[in-house]
């Protein structure tokens, strides 16, 4: 039967190939080649080692389903069992319900915990939708403009070894033109459909649903990869991979002027809001054609601003997407061209208040606007200039010119901002005995106290809450006096507009393998990588800049993507007199920080991590999720900080990053409201093991990478837990332990006044210990933990099982010194090691 299936699933001409002296049968490597035999053959020929092929049981899954990729998910979910929040006990997902699952299984057989997992999957699916839709529109537009044969790449320095990893790892495709992207996106859309269905009708186990939630994140990262390839290949987005790698320490230059204070007064202002950059592309091309670029201000919050910056350096990035409502109510824009995005926003309502004109471009309607896509452009321009508030036009080619000409034709707008006197007057209505606004505020801002203070002190009293407010409006809903709190906040924002200026670098796009390999030589002088994502909207808008400065200043290789780059850019080092992106250079190396780009550039974080499997261990990523994820998780993938408001999209992104091996720290408030945490338990020794891949020997390790998804409350907690998560069995070189243990202990003591409770488990030799603390810590090891030390050396170490071992014995029995190459599951050891394990009775 198998032979019959193989004939159906593999082109007989392409099924067999040679690698060195070894004959390879693709049908032994994968169940179904899904028509990508040529790509798999090329990847094997160029990227595989013959010895590795012979030693390991590699399995490839082209166009993988969630259930194809269970090996790594099993490792993760076993070590970090999901902890669900906000438990819902009643399921009403079908017309047989409602079923109260606290009283037992539902009519479909679903239990309470799997139901929570199903809800978790649902959040992830919802989080994917807007970016899937936007990417579909973008790809369709590109195909229409350039044809399916249009070549695509991430830049000249990419080749088959590192091209579009986020796509190749799931599909096996070597992406070279738009038709490949069409197939990749169709695959992702089909996956999302299946996942959505399961999120409403699935009756699997917790593992089944979480496997699908992870998969949801993986396909979202794939879709972001599709979007980035189209942007770079068809729309002129600048890319570091097209530049000489030797110029990357200062490219792209810090030449993007951001902030509301940099918008030149007197010029017409067009703002672009949402995920879709095409209307901006169209408008800017029109301005360039007419020689008008210097006479207009093009502004954008968030992801679209970061996209525009990659092809138009005159853009003013005003802030993050979740804060867009605040900027709009400030009235800075004459015309707003809006599309769907990550955040819910009453664009029509906000724009109307300040007489900004809205052009809505997304496929679905907005606020009952009639679809006027086919109306003549002149008519639309006349209507908007003549007094119409908004139009819905789905034709992005048309929208650019309309936006420019409407902005040109408007005669000025009224001033709707509250004066300082009016703010004081409104503040007087605030009741002494009421803080319902504080209760309602998702950032727990002490709004009432600030408003009461404003009665005397005016706008300056409101500045701290203005900076922490992302304009959700819940405070106003609760206020019994109907005080227009958000108008007060916008008035406070207006006061600081002149100082709201910063400089940033635009996104560089992907990181090619030659830079990744080059950076390897500097990493021995660094605690590690630092990756930050943020959507803005945290209680203190300066957190992200503070974190980026701390990590990069301490020698990390820092990458940042999405709206977080805008927040980081605001950090100003007074001593150096420089903004963050001026202070640090930007190559892919230690003590450098790079912005990768807008929201879709988050995919490059996964790619930069997973490339290490190819660069360091020579494992090809084509359809080879399991091996790559195993290596990425235990060796390279650093913790990622996700900071701020965190719309549902970030839930899916986090799932994808976790699955490839990252640990996610999410804060300061939003993470606690996420549907599940994935936290480990360092006291439970049964969880902390690796297998020597050569022999199959099981070795206990330190509880490194203790959590893979943990919410934190403050930036200091984020910083400290980050250093803690850098402890990992993979860091078996003492210098790497020293470099990560030093800041971990220092931060813990500085911010919390004690030694961490787990530091002793990360020590394997005296040279792991921070140099300045060595004597003190050795004393602590001796007196508190029962180690045998003498002077500055360790004579005998205490194993966690209580035995006192010589250093040689300890190195053999604890951590990875003698496990030359190891895996977190016996399923990924060599064929020879598997034989050993079977002889010992393990079913594998």
């Amino acid at each position: 039967m198998e032979e019959k299936l193989i004939k159906k699933r593999f082109d007989p001409e392409k099924r067999f190939m040679e690698l060195g002296k070894t004959k390879i049968d693709l049908a032994r490597l994968c169940r179904d080649a899904r028509g990508v035999e040529d790509d798999l053959r090329q990847a094997i020929k160029e990227d595989w080692g013959e010895a590795r092929y012979n030693d390991w049981d590699t399995r490839l899954y082209p166009f993988a389903e969630a259930s194809d990729l269970v090996v790594q998910d099993d490792v993760l979910l076993n070590n970090y069992p999901p902890l669900y929040t906000d438990i819902q006990t009643v399921c009403s997902d079908c017309d047989n319900g409602p079923c109260d699952l606290e009283n037992g299984k539902g009519l479909c057989g679903l239990d309470l915990d799997p139901f929570q997992a199903r809800l978790s999957l649902r959040v992830a699916c919802r989080g994917c939708q807007s970016q899937f839709m936007d990417t579909r529109d973008l790809l369709d537009y590109a195909i229409k403009e350039f044809g399916l044969d249009k070549e695509v790449s991430l830049g000249a320095r990419h080749d088959i070894s590192d091209q579009a990893l986020s796509i190749a790892i799931l599909t096996g495709q070597y992406v070279r033109n738009l038709s490949h992207l069409e197939r990749a996106l169709a695959y992702a859309e089909a996956q999302l459909n299946k996942l959505f269905l399961a999120s409403h009708q699935g009756t699997g186990s917790v593992f089944d649903f979480e496997n699908m939630t992870f998969h949801c994140g993986s396909v979202l990262l794939l879709v972001q990869g599709v979007s980035e390839l189209v942007k770079g290949s068809c729309f002129g987005f600048q890319r570091g991979a097209d530049r000489d790698k030797l110029e990357m320490d200062h490219w792209p230059p810090p030449n993007i002027s951001g902030g509301l204070g940099n918008i030149e007064k007197g010029k017409p202002v067009i703002a672009f809001v949402g995920d879709n950059f095409l209307p901006a592309w169209s408008a800017i091309n029109h301005l360039k054609d007419k020689g008008l670029t210097e006479r207009f201000e093009i502004c954008a919050p968030g992801p679209v601003g970061l996209d525009i910056a990659r092809f138009y350096d005159r853009v003013r990035i005003v802030g993050t997407m979740v804060n867009a409502g605040k900027w709009i109510r400030l009235g800075f824009a004459d015309v707003i061209v809006a599309s769907t995005g990550c955040s819910h926003l009453d664009i029509l309502g906000e724009a109307k208040r300040v007489e900004s004109k809205v052009i809505w471009v997304s496929p679905q309607g907005l606020g009952g606007l009639p679809d006027r896509t086919d109306s003549p452009g002149e008519e639309l321009i006349d209507d908007l200039i003549g007094g119409l508030d908004a139009v819905w036009v789905r034709d992005v080619d048309k929208v650019g010119e309309i936006a420019v000409r409407v902005a040109q034709g408007l005669k000025g707008r009224g001033n709707y901002l509250l004066s300082e006197e009016k703010v004081k007057e409104e503040a007087k209505r605030c009741r002494e005995d009421c803080d319902l606004c504080f209760n309602a505020c998702p950032n727990s801002l002490l709004i009432g106290q600030a408003v009461r203070k404003a009665r005397e002190e005016g706008l300056s009293a409101l500045t701290p809450i203005e900076k922490g407010c992302y304009f959700c409006g819940k405070c106003e809903q609760q206020c019994p006096e109907k005080i227009p709190i958000r108008d007060l906040i916008v008035a406070a924002l207006k006061k600081r507009v002149p100082d709201d200026k910063f400089i940033m670098r635009s996104g560089r796009g992907s990181v090619p393998e030659d830079e990744i390999a080059r950076s390897a030589f500097t990493l021995m002088n660094s605690p590690g990588f630092c990756w930050i994502l943020s959507c803005g909207g945290s209680k203190d808008m300066e957190d992200v800049g503070w974190l980026a400065n701390e990590f990069t200043g301490k020698g990390c290789l820092s990458l940042i993507a999405g709206c977080g780059a805008v927040e980081a850019a605001r950090y100003f080092d007074r001593e150096a007199g420089k903004f963050l992106f001026e202070k640090f250079t930007c190559e892919y190396a230690v003590k450098n920080i790079s912005s990768l780009g807008g929201c879709t550039a988050m995919t490059f974080l996964q790619e930069a991590s997973a490339h290490w499997a190819r660069t360091g261990v020579h494992i090809s990523h084509y359809a080879n999720w399991t091996e790559v994820a195993d290596i990425t998780h235990r060796l390279m993938a650093p913790p990622v900080i996700i900071w701020g408001r965190c719309p549902e999209r970030m839930y899916a992104v986090a799932a994808g990053l976790i699955r490839i091996g990252h640990q996610v720290i999410v804060g300061p408030n939003a993470g606690f409201a996420w549907k599940r945490y994935l936290v480990g338990n360092h006291f439970d020794r049964s969880k902390w093991y690796v297998w020597d891949t050569a022999s199959g020997r099981k070795v206990e390790t330190e509880p490194g990478q203790e959590h893979i998804l943990i919410p934190v409350e403050t930036k200091e907690e984020a910083l400290t837990v980050y250093w803690g998560l850098l402890q990992k069995p993979g860091a078996s070189v003492s210098i790497m332990r020293l470099l990560s243990l030093t800041p971990y202990i220092a931060c813990y003591e500085k911010y919390f006044g004690d030694l961490p409770d787990d530091w002793q488990w990360f020590v394997t030799t005296a040279s792991d210990l921070p140099v300045r603390q060595k004597v003190r810590l050795l004393k602590e090891l001796k007196e508190k933990w029962g180690w045998d030390t003498e002077g500055v050396t360790i004579k005998k170490a205490r194993h966690r099982d209580g035995r006192l071992l010589t250093t040689d014995e300890f190195a053999h029995e604890y951590s990875t010194h003698e496990a030359r190459f190891f895996a977190k599951t016996p399923k990924l050891v060599t064929k020879k090691a598997k034989e050993n394990l079977r002889k010992e009775g393990m079913k594998i």
Partner: protein, 155 residues
């Protein structure tokens, strides 16, 4: 849980193994005459309960005279509640976690995640995911009053 009277909530702590959790709002909420962190210390000292100090609270809790304080991460505490207890902040698994200093969404997330044990939230809003919770306080003053009543009832 319908019980919202602070004095009656105090009754629920008596005779139980209590672990207090102090969150970052303890550092930020100032009632004028006292800070939120002061109430954590008072409750801890009155009932001899240790404090899992989350956020940046460990230093100020110690400075205010709390006797048993240990830095922990809030999600860790909720996680440990589903396994055999090993963290040295308290010698056995707590029967009840008392959360102070967490915003409503954070408290709801944490309290609802605790499956093997009771929770009590002493916050400014009612938290439905908790076993016990103070009611919605329309003002900081009313919240402070509830905390005062709670503390006095523990005497």
């Amino acid at each position: 849980m319908s019980e919202k009277d602070p004095r009656k909530l105090a009754e629920h702590l008596k005779g139980k193994k209590v672990l207090l959790m102090a969150g970052q709002l303890c550092e930020e909420v100032d009632f004028g005459t006292k800070k939120l962190v002061d109430y954590v210390v008072e409750i801890s000292n009155r009932i001899g309960a240790p404090i899992a100090a989350t956020g940046n609270t460990p230093l100020s809790l110690k400075a205010k005279g709390a006797k048993t304080v240990r830095k922990m991460w809030a999600a860790e505490v909720a996680n440990y509640m589903r396994w055999p207890w090993e963290d040295p902040v308290i010698d056995e698994k707590p029967e009840i976690l008392v959360l102070i200093g967490y915003g409503p969404a954070t408290a709801q997330g944490l309290a609802s995640a605790v499956r093997d044990g009771e929770t009590m939230v002493l916050g400014n809003t009612y938290v439905k995911g908790a076993t016990y919770s103070l009611p919605e306080s329309p003002s900081l003053g009313r919240w402070q009053q509830a905390l005062e009543e709670m503390v006095q009832s523990l005497a």
